[in-house]
Structures are given as C-alpha cells and as structure tokens.
C-alpha cells in the first residue's frame, strides 16, 4: 500500500484546496491518521473509494471521540522591565484550547487487500457547531455507525438519510459517551458497599 504521505499528495493533487494533516502515532501500532477538513471530507472520501490504486471500498469502523476543552500551563520567557532593567522572567501562561468532537473512520480495501487508512474529521467545538458531513452515501456501512455517534456523542451528520437515536430512547436528552456526561443518580443501595460506590450511595442513606 502507498504510504500516508503518498495518499496525502494524491488527494491534494485531485482536490485542490483540501486541508490535510497527518496525525502522528508514536505507539508500536504506528497507525497514523489523516485529518481532513469538514468542507472537503465528502469529496476526499469519494476519491479514496473510487481511486483505482487505493480502492478503499470497505469502511470497517466509524466512531466518535470526545476531546474536552483543555488548558495547558506553560512557562514562557517574557521580557520585562524590572526595576528599570530589562530582564528575562519566567511567567506561567495558561492557554485554553477549545475541545472538539471527532469522527474517526477506518478504511480497508477488499479489492486490493490493504489497509487501514484512518480518516478523521473534527467539529469546531463541542456545543453549537457539531455538524459534520455524513459519509453514508459513500459507504453504506456508516449508516448505523453514524447514528450511534449521533446518539452517544451528539455529532449531527448532514446528508444522513435517517439520523435518529439508535441505542437510547427517543426522548433522551443527553449524549452519554461524552466525557462530561453526568449519569442519573440511582445508587440508592449497594449490597457490598466499598470506596467510591459507598460514597455515591451515602447521600441516599438518610
């Protein structure tokens, strides 16, 4: 199979304007992935499927990932005038990084028996801009898996033929797989109380 760099070049040549980025992976698995921007994701997906060399005709796995807002504290050297003299001073700076939701697609080729090529698409944030293009028209396999991502993570897939909740019931309002989901408190009773579970059950004991 072509390397991810070659695939990236191939996409860049065919779809001008597509913003692509290779996400590194330092583990022994060494499965790097390709980050695609929202606007061109659908075209990129269709190219990957139809390209004669790649022929990634089999979408094996589609899933969501929730990345919370993070704040990174960094030591930055700042030039400051202290007592009339310019000095370099260490200062702690807190940088906020907005969180986002991510859809990850694992692609294989049955025709050429290679893979995986991993595709990632990200939303702008976790609250109001959570729309992504649906890849169901390209790979039918995404139909239920995107519904599941919508159900559990709240990513809205534009162009999905039937986007409804799939695992939870229809009136359910939360997105339970998000990292900040608070589950309903129904730990009234724990037959073998211990540690955190005991703590959780404690408020109900009186």
């Amino acid at each position: 199979m072509e390397t991810l760099e070659q695939i990236k070049d191939r996409i860049a040549a065919a779809i001008p304007g597509a913003r692509l980025e290779i996400i590194p992976n330092d583990t022994p698995a060494n499965q790097r992935s390709l980050l695609v921007d929202r606007e061109h994701a659908f075209e990129v997906a269709r190219l990957l499927r139809d390209d004669a060399v790649l022929r990634l005709d089999y979408l094996s796995n589609a899933t969501g990932v929730d990345w919370l807002d993070t704040s990174i504290k960094e030591k930055v050297k700042v030039k400051k005038v202290v007592e009339g003299v310019e000095k370099e001073v260490d200062e702690m700076v807190e940088r906020k990084k907005a969180g986002y939701l991510e859809a990850v697609y694992h692609l294989y080729s049955i025709a050429h028996r290679h893979g995986p090529v991993i595709l990632r698409i990200r939303t702008d944030n976790r609250t109001d801009k959570t729309r992504l293009p649906s890849l169901t028209p390209v790979w039918r396999s995404a139909e239920f898996q995107e519904r599941e991502i919508y159900d559990l993570y709240g990513i809205i897939f534009d162009g999905h033929p039937d986007l409804r909740r799939i695992l939870m019931w229809d009136g359910f309002q939360d997105y339970p797989m998000r990292k900040d989901y608070a589950e309903p408190d129904d730990y009234e009773y724990e037959p073998t109380p211990h540690d955190e579970v005991l703590e959780k059950a404690q408020p109900h004991s009186r």
């Binding site: 583990t27 698995a29 499965q31 396999s141 909740r165 695992l167």
Partner: protein, 391 residues
C-alpha cells in the same frame, strides 16, 4: 469445497415479486412491531415491519434494549479490568472476544505473545468457532420451525467444548482467559487429549447433522433464494465474516492480516455464490470442517514453553500516548477494538467494532419483498447476538 458445489442442490423456490403484479398495493399497509419480546429475535431486538398482506414493504430495526454501556464502563476502568467485560459482548464466543481485545492492546503496547500462547489462542478460537456455528445452525433450524431437536443436538456438542473451556479457565461461558502478551494459565494435565478426542469425534456429528439437514426439502425451500444479498452492497455496507463470504467475496481476515500464527496453517475459505440464507448456512458448515483441520494441526504441533510475554506488566499497565485498531476474524465477522491511550491507566477511548451490529445494516434490503416468516429466517442467518449488537 469450491463455490460451484455449494449451490448444487436444485433451487425450487421463486422469490416473490416485490409488489403485487400490477405494481400497486391493493390494500392497507399494516405496521407490526416484532420484538423486543419475540421468540425469534434471539434476544431483545425489535423490528418495526410494515406489511403489505404477508409481504414486507419496509423494515426498520430498533436497537438498544441491551445497551449496557460497555464502552463507557471500559473508559472508566483499567485496561485489564475490561477483559471480563469483553466476554459478555458476544456471549457465545468469549475466547475470540478476549483475543481481539488482547491483540489490540498488544498492538498498542508492542507486546508479542510466546509461541505456546499463540497456539493456545488458535485452538481456543477455533473451538469457539465450532461452538458458535453449531449453535447458529441449531437456532436457524429453530427459526424455521424445527422446534427443539436440532438445537438439542447442537447444545449437546456445545457442552463438550464448554467442558474443555471450563477445565482451562474455570468458567463455562465467560472464560476471561487471554492476557496482554499471552494467556492466563497453562493447559491443565490431560487437556490436550480431551481436546483431541472432541476434535476426532466432531466430524461424525457434522456428518450426521448434514445428513439430516442439508438435503432436506423443507430446509431448501425455506432458505434458497431467500434474503439474497448482492456482493457490491455487502462490501459497501461493511458486511463481514460468513455473511460476506456467502456473497462470493473472498475476504477472511485470518488470510488477509495473518494475525497470530495463522500463516502456518493450511485451510480453505469457503465461498458462496448466491448470498442467500442457504449459502450462509452452508458456509458455516464448511467453515467448521476447515476449523477442524486447523485444530488437528495445532493440537499436534503445540510446543512447550512460556505462555506470557515477559515484558507484559499486570499492575500499573500504561501504554504510551497514541492509538491502535486491532481486528480478528471472529465467528460472526470482523471483530475490532479501537483504543486511544492518553498515557494513563484507563483507555481514553475504547470502541468495539461489533460485526453483528454492522451486519444488520442490510437487514431491510434482504427482507423487503419476502414474507414475515422469511424475515425470521433471514434474521437467524445473519447470526446476531444482542450483547454485541447493543453493547
């Protein structure tokens, strides 16, 4: 057996036209909810069916009645503590579930199981495939109306293999046997002889089973031409396992990825050519024969040695930051685990790629135009286990 031989019995069942002959519906459509409590749905699965007389006009599966939050729980616990939960995904095949998860973590952490462990894994996985396919055939016949008897035969054989699993792991169904970089315990004394005996006797049971079933006129009438699936749709819809191969697509992950030590074994991949229920049934019977071939060689060749990679850590197991996707050819199809590590004790993201869930994507395409009774048979041939569909 080559593809041509599978389809050799005569086809004596014509697929009914999708609508009434003049192209319009002549009556009212009836909406029926099959399930979640329904004897044919293999658990708590629901199909919202719209019927035109006896014919299915529309079918929407409804999931989630066994959604027990496996992924969320796994993200809140350590890597090893998720191992027993994987048993409960597809509760017929705990050994292959263990293997798929162990394989993914091994990819993530760079562990290599020793030779003996690889052999034990292959032996247990192929025994699991025997259990799964045997029981599936029993349930499929039950769905066709053969109440009890084939299922009793199947469960009789299942018990023999479960005895082996129990001797090995201490539990009949929920084995929790594999570890990252190997297996939990070595084979007990006499286990290999017991396994050899089961493998020796199995073909006799299969012969008997096939003699009763495969040429049976009712079985052929109920399965041939029912629920046909075109190969292009199957590939696009991510269908895997025996269901994909029944459509004639030669894709077996044991051959493609050569994970474990499958490249040392000679076995053939049975293929169908109609993609209907009969092909799916036949593929499973043929696959069992191939599994027996693998088992015979593995049981003869298994070497002595350690069973766990010495680099594997049990306490404080923290893989590097990164991700891995590992997959195996489970009895139901491609079973994958996708893990993202943030360098802590718990996986940041833990995802199961459930074969039977994705295989249901095309349920509607297969059922439309058939009668309600056929829906039951088609669903039976997909081979779903709800623990894995809903997770």
């Amino acid at each position: 057996m080559p593809a041509a031989e599978i389809s050799s019995p005569p086809r004596n069942y014509e697929v009914m036209p999708k609508a009434s002959p003049n192209g319009e519906f002549d009556g009212e459509l009836l909406e029926v909810a099959m399930g979640p409590h329904h004897p044919s749905t293999h658990g708590v699965f629901r199909m919202d069916v719209v019927l035109d007389g006896e014919r299915v006009a529309k079918l929407k599966p409804v999931f989630g009645y066994l959604h027990r939050n496996h992924e969320k729980i796994a993200e809140n616990t350590t890597y090893l503590a998720s191992m027993p939960y994987t048993d409960r995904l597809d509760y017929f095949c705990s050994m292959t579930n263990n293997w798929a998860y162990a394989l993914s973590v091994e990819k993530l952490a760079g562990l290599q199981p020793p030779e003996r462990a690889e052999y034990i894994r292959i032996i247990t996985a192929e025994l699991t495939r025997l259990v799964n396919h045997t029981c599936l055939v029993g349930f499929l016949l039950q769905d066709m109306g053969a109440l009890g008897t084939p299922l009793m035969y199947a469960f009789r054989e299942r018990e023999k293999i479960l005895d082996l699993f129990e001797a090995l792991s201490g539990s009949r169904m929920m084995c929790n046997y594999m570890r990252f970089g190997g297996c939990r315990a070595d084979l007990p004394a006499g286990w290999l002889d017991g396994a050899k005996q089961v493998v020796e006797n199995y073909p006799r049971f299969l012969d008997e089973f096939e003699a009763f079933l495969s040429g049976n006129e009712i079985l052929m009438a109920r399965t041939q031409g029912v629920g046909a699936l075109p190969a292009e749709l199957a590939v696009s819809a991510g269908i895997s396992g025996p269901m994909l191969r029944a459509c004639g697509v030669n894709y077996d992950i044991r051959k493609v990825d050569k994970y474990g030590i499958y490249d040392r074994f000679e076995f053939r991949v049975p293929l169908g050519d109609h993609g209907d229920v009969f092909d799916r049934y036949m593929i499973r019977l043929l696959e069992m024969r191939e599994s027996l071939k693998i088992l015979r060689k593995a049981l003869a060749d298994i070497p002595d040695g350690p069973i766990v990679d010495s680099k594997a850590k049990i306490r404080g197991f923290k893989p590097k930051v990164g991700e891995a996707y590992g997959r195996i050819e489970g009895p139901k199809g491609e079973l994958g685990f996708y893990l993202i590590s943030d360098g802590s004790l718990n996986p940041y993201r833990y995802r199961v790629r459930p074969p039977s869930f994705i295989n249901l994507t095309v349920l509607e395409d297969m059922c439309v135009g058939h009668s309600v009774a056929d829906v039951v048979v088609i669903l039976g041939s997909v081979d779903i286990v709800l623990g894995e569909v809903d997770r």
